[in-house]
Each structure stands twice: as structure tokens, then as C-alpha cells.
């Protein structure tokens, strides 16, 4: 575990030493803050003491920003050759992948943490449903984990960052939109399978304030699939 932490620390440091973290955080907070408070379906326009408008914005902003964070992670190490160096160290592939996953997740948690002023402001203005808000954040974190693992997988199969970014978006858009659209126009078993696969079904189920073991299992399955996939494509280069 301490080895994983070393990777997490190194990754976080490199996030904050480069401009990546700042651009990502400022862009995320700027977009989310703008549409939550100033324009569109903002909180004062809706007039309800709930963070639902923030959650529905963050549902999209996170979807777009996470691939930008993960695209670099394995692809660049691969391209510059530092991955070879890393792989010669006494660290397992799993520790590398998991460390990178955790570091990105921590960055997302920091980003969400910085939106706590929204919560306190709305709280001071009306009777907010705390359970729904907390689970809204939990839902965002679970959804982010799923997209981070997809992004890591995309980054592990190529050494081109742009390709990694686009690949992550393409896989992501299926979960984000396409399965949902398919499910609304199909009936029967196929419809319900697509409905189950759709990210928004599970996200909205959690963010209304109910934790359901089915939703957790769904998100964790995507995470496990993505991380195992990345680990395997790292391992592939050592196999014949």
C-alpha cells in the first residue's frame, strides 16, 4: 500500500506543479459555478433549496474533464519511456494503475470539496435536504470513479494523448447518453438492459437521496473492469 501511496503522492504533485490541476479546477469550478449561480437553470431561478442544478451541471462537466486528466497518465509515460523505468521498479502493475486512479480521484474530490460554499449558502437560505445533498456528492464521486477507470484504460492502450482523450470520451458517451437514448426508444428486455447500463439511471437514483446496493455494484463493476483492463494492457508488453 505504501508503494501505491508513493505513486499517488507523485502524481498529485505533478498535477499541482504543472498547470493541469489549476486549469482543470478553474475550468470545472468556473463552468459549474456559472451555471449553478449565474445563468441557465440557476439556483435563484429554480427557487428551491436544493443543489440539483449543480449536480446536473457537474454530471456533464466531470464527464468532459475527467478524460482530460486521465489521457496523459499512462499514454505519456509510455511515449516518453518513463513507463519502462517505472515498470523496472519493484512495483506491481496493479499498484501503478491503482495509484494513478486514486490520485485522479483525489483531485476530483478536491474539486467537489471546493463547491462546499454552494452547499452552505443554500443551507442558509432554505430547508435543504441534507441526505439528498450528501448522496448527490457520493453519486458524483462514484460516477467520476467509473469515468476515471475508463479514461485510464483508454490511456493505457495508446501512447498518444489525443487518441486516449477521444477514446475515453467515445466509451464514456455510450454510458453517458447513448444507452439512455436507446433505452427510451426500445421496449422489452433490450430496453431494460440499456436502461441498466445507462449512467444517468444510477446517478439520478442515488442523487435523489437513496443508497441502493444495485447502484453501488454497477459503478464498482465499471471501475473494476476499467482498472483490470488497464492493468492487463500494461502487463501485455511484458508478455509474449
Amino acid at each position: 500500500m505504501s508503494k501505491t501511496w508513493t505513486i499517488v503522492r507523485r502524481e498529485l504533485q505533478s498535477f499541482f506543479d504543472s498547470l493541469t490541476a489549476y486549469i482543470m479546477l478553474v475550468a470545472f469550478l468556473g463552468f459549474s459555478g456559472f451555471f449553478t449561480w449565474i445563468s441557465g437553470n440557476d439556483i435563484f431561478f429554480v427557487g428551491q433549496a436544493s443543489l440539483q442544478s449543480f449536480f446536473s451541471i457537474a454530471y456533464w462537466t466531470l464527464f468532459l474533464f475527467i478524460p482530460a486528466l486521465t489521457m496523459r497518465q499512462l499514454a505519456e509515460e509510455n511515449k516518453t519511456g518513463t513507463l519502462e523505468m517505472l515498470l523496472t521498479k519493484p512495483i506491481s502493475d496493479w499498484q501503478i494503475v491503482f495509484g494513478k486512479f486514486l490520485s485522479t480521484l483525489i483531485l476530483i474530490v478536491i474539486a467537489l470539496f471546493l463547491t462546499f460554499p454552494y452547499y452552505f449558502t443554500v443551507w442558509s437560505l432554505g430547508p435543504i435536504d441534507h441526505g439528498a445533498v450528501i448522496l448527490g456528492y457520493v453519486g458524483l464521486i462514484l460516477m467520476s470513479s467509473a469515468y476515471i477507470s475508463i479514461g485510464l484504460f483508454a490511456s493505457s492502450v495508446t501512447n498518444n494523448q489525443i487518441v486516449a482523450f477521444l477514446l475515453a470520451l467515445i466509451i464514456g458517451i455510450f454510458f453517458h447518453v447513448i444507452f439512455g437514448v436507446l433505452s427510451s426508444s426500445l421496449t422489452g428486455a433490450a430496453g431494460s438492459v440499456f436502461d441498466y447500463l445507462s449512467m444517468s439511471t444510477h446517478f439520478s437514483a442515488i442523487s435523489r437521496g437513496v443508497i441502493d446496493s444495485r447502484d453501488i455494484i454497477y459503478f464498482l463493476s465499471i471501475v473494476v473492469m476499467g482498472l483490470m483492463g488497464s492493468e492487463a494492457s500494461l502487463a501485455k508488453r511484458n508478455l509474449n
Binding site: 468556473g30 437560505l125 439528498a132 421496449t187 431494460s192 446496493s213 463493476s221 473492469m225 483490470m228
Partner: protein, 504 residues
Amino acid sequence: MKSKKLLLPYFLLLGGVLILLNVLANRFFFRIDFTDDQRYTLSDATHQIINHLDDPVTVTAYFSQDLPPDVSRVRNDFKNLLQEFHSVSHGKVNYEFVAPNENSNTEQQAVDAGIQPVVINVREKDQAVQKKAYLGAVIHYEDKTQVIPFLQPGSGMEYALASAIRKLTVKNKPEIGLIQGNGEPAKYEFPQVMQELNVLYNVRNVTLNDSVYLGKYKTLILDGPKDSIPPEQLKLLNNYLAQGGNLLVAFDRVDGQLERSRGVAINTGLETWLANKGIQVESSFVTDASCSTISLRQQSGLFSFSTQLQFPYLPIITTFANHPVTKGLEAVSLQFASPMKYTGDSTLTFIPLAKTSRMSGKQHTPVYFDIEHHWTNKDFPLSNEIVAGLLEGKIAGPANARMIVITDGDFAVNGSGQSARQLPGDNINFFVNAVDWLSDDTGLIDLRTKGISSRPLAKIQDGKKSFLKYFNFLLPILLIIIYGVFRAQRKRWIRIKRMEDDYV
């Protein structure tokens, strides 16, 4: 993983395990409800109702199959709800699902039972098709049935089901008297209230005269008298209260005549009768910054258009007492109300049930409505004016009596004919909760307001609003930029330090 050849089987295995896990998770699952009001968990009132069943209840749910998932989610939600009813009632509540679109036989059965089909758009073989969908249920108990023609998705389902079961199983419904004869609206003019009241009570028309025995009524309702009430009728009400009766009074002390732009006082004799009991209802209009709008037609050249105007004479009440009558209420909109206060002694208990907001005022009659008036904070010098209250104790005689007074006679009246309108749910809830509490039947109070999720933001001034907007927008961004600058500075110091000669 020792070789590339094993990679594919490995992933097939992993995928298989994950799919199996997800399928199993759909069979065996648990949920924890984190919402403040436990919106997605069966409430105590439902437990009460289904724990006291003598005979089994059968629910036949008519749900079309092959519907898009967003519609069939209603079916799943309802099935989950029935499952919980089944387990809570220890098997007393049973259910079956019938698919009306399977053959014409079952469809006829659904129509005969009174289920109303709804039309939805489905995409079938690359074509948009309109389909008839049935989303209803019939509840059988002994030889009686009750129909829920259309199930609204969401938490309203629990109330629909529990109240339908309650309707079937309740024995000897108490009698409620609706006082008529002095210009009060008739039963058919408040269908929304009557629909709710009929679940638990028999509502009868009552004319106050000597030949009527009032004692058999659990509660009397005096809503919106237009004509003056003869003193002998008020005396009968006094006798009723003296014997421990319960009375709900909702009346207009003032009359807003919008078409003539003026508001006048109404004298029915009720106000003096109430004043004798310590409840003073002023002949003035309350105004409130939190209010409904009216639409105003304006003519500009050839064009006429309508604008929505805030009209503070129609207050939206959001401040309620912590009391069973007002529990769970969020917003009740009134049409012209008057302020009241209690001046009686402390032998009786008076509880203010509903108050105006912190920014409110009052205007004495007669009032001329100035539509163009620009309302400012100066117009709202008062705060928390009482518009509904409850009086309990020996009001008119030896026995304990209860009385609820609301200073608006129309807030729960839909009206009739052309002027009929749909009322907000909380208006109805307030009225029916009051009757429930007066009749000592608090079972469904909890359920009625459950899952109504209006959580209005407090009214704040524009300046504070824009401050909060930009504060929330900019603060997180500033924090992260400040941290970035700080970190860059620190790195520069370290670098400078390293360049110094004595750095080892």
C-alpha cells in the same frame, strides 16, 4: 497472467463474473433512505393502516408491458411498494400483475374495472407509434373494490395505495357537517377537498336550525359564508362547542373585488361572535412580499399582451407552527386574508398556525388596488401576521372544544363552472389536516404531505442575492488560484535557496 493467450479467457471470465454479480445484485438488494423526510420508506401511517387489516386485501395491478423504461419504472416502483406492503402486513396484502395489452380479454377487464388508459409515444420498427398504456390498480377487500385509475410516479403512490386501502377498510366513517344556508359554497364547489375527506368521513350538508341534532357530527365546517349569519344560528354553534364540538371556520373578513379595483370589509356577524371568544379578525388586508401573481392585460397600439404582476394581496404562506395540522406543509397560497390576534385569557390555549413572512403589512378597508404600484420594502413594515389559528379549551361551556380559524374563505374552494381552478396541493392538505386533527383522526396526516418537495428559498434583497451569486462563483476559483500562486512562490524560494553559495 503468464502469456498473451490467457488474456482473452481472463477477460471473458472477469466479464462473466461481473455480469453475474450485477444480475444477482438485482435479485438481492437493500436500500437505505437518506432523505430528511424518509420519502422513500413506508411511513408510520401506512404501517398503522395495514397492520390493522382483518381480512386479506388483494391488489390487481393493470400495467401494460413493453413500455419504454421510463414508464415501466413506474411499474417497478409500484411492484417494490407492493412488496413492502406485503411484508409489512405479514402477507395480508397480496398482489397480482395483469398485462392489459396481452389480449383483448384482459384489456376489456381493465377498462371494465375503471382503469384509464394513457397515450404514450413509443418507437417501434423505426416508426413513432402511439400506444395505449394502462398504469392503474384495483384493490379488493371483502366484497368491496376501490380503483386507482392512474398511478402517478413517485412518492404519491404510497398515499394513493394506503388511502385506497383505508377507504375500503374503515368502519363506521365519522360524520362531518358542512354548514350551508348563508351563501357558503356547496360540496361540488370543492371537489379536491371532498375527494380527500370522503376517504375517512361522510360529509353531510347541515343547515343550522333547531330541528338538527348537531351532536352527531364529529366536526362542523363553516367555510366562506357570504350573507350575515342570524344570531340564533351562532347560538346553536355555541351550544355545539359547549358540548365539546369541533369547529373549522374559514371565512372572509374582507372582499377583494379585482374588477372594480377595490377591497371592502364583509360583516357577517361571525367576526363579533369570534371576538367574544377572544379571536379578533381585523377588517384589513394582509400584504406579503412573498405572494402570487396576477396576469394583467395591457394594450399597446394594436397589440394586447398579458404580463404577470406580483400582487402582495395574495400572500403565499410558508411560516407554520410545529403542530400536526401544519406538519409537512410548505406553501399555502391565500386569496385576500386578514390579520388576526388572540386577546382572550390564558384559560384557553391559542396556537397561531400560519403566519405571513417577515416582510408583510396590512391595509385597512376600504382599499383601492393600485396595480401599477411599485412595491418597496417600506410597504412591508410588519412581520409574521397571524392568518390562521387554533383555539382549544372550554370555549363556550363546560366541555373541551376545539376550533380552527382561517381568515380566508376561498383558499380551498375550487369554484364552479368557468371560474373553477385547480388548487395547490398544500391548500387542500391544510384544510383536510385541520379536519383530521379536529376529528381526532391523525392517521393520514403524515402521508398526505409526504414527498411534497417544495423547499422554497428565503426571500432576500437583490443586493445580497447578487453578492451571493458572485461570491459562490468566484470564491472557489480564487481559492485555487491563491493556492497555485503560493505554491509557485514557495518553489521559487526553494530554488533561490539552492542557488545560494552556502547551500549544501
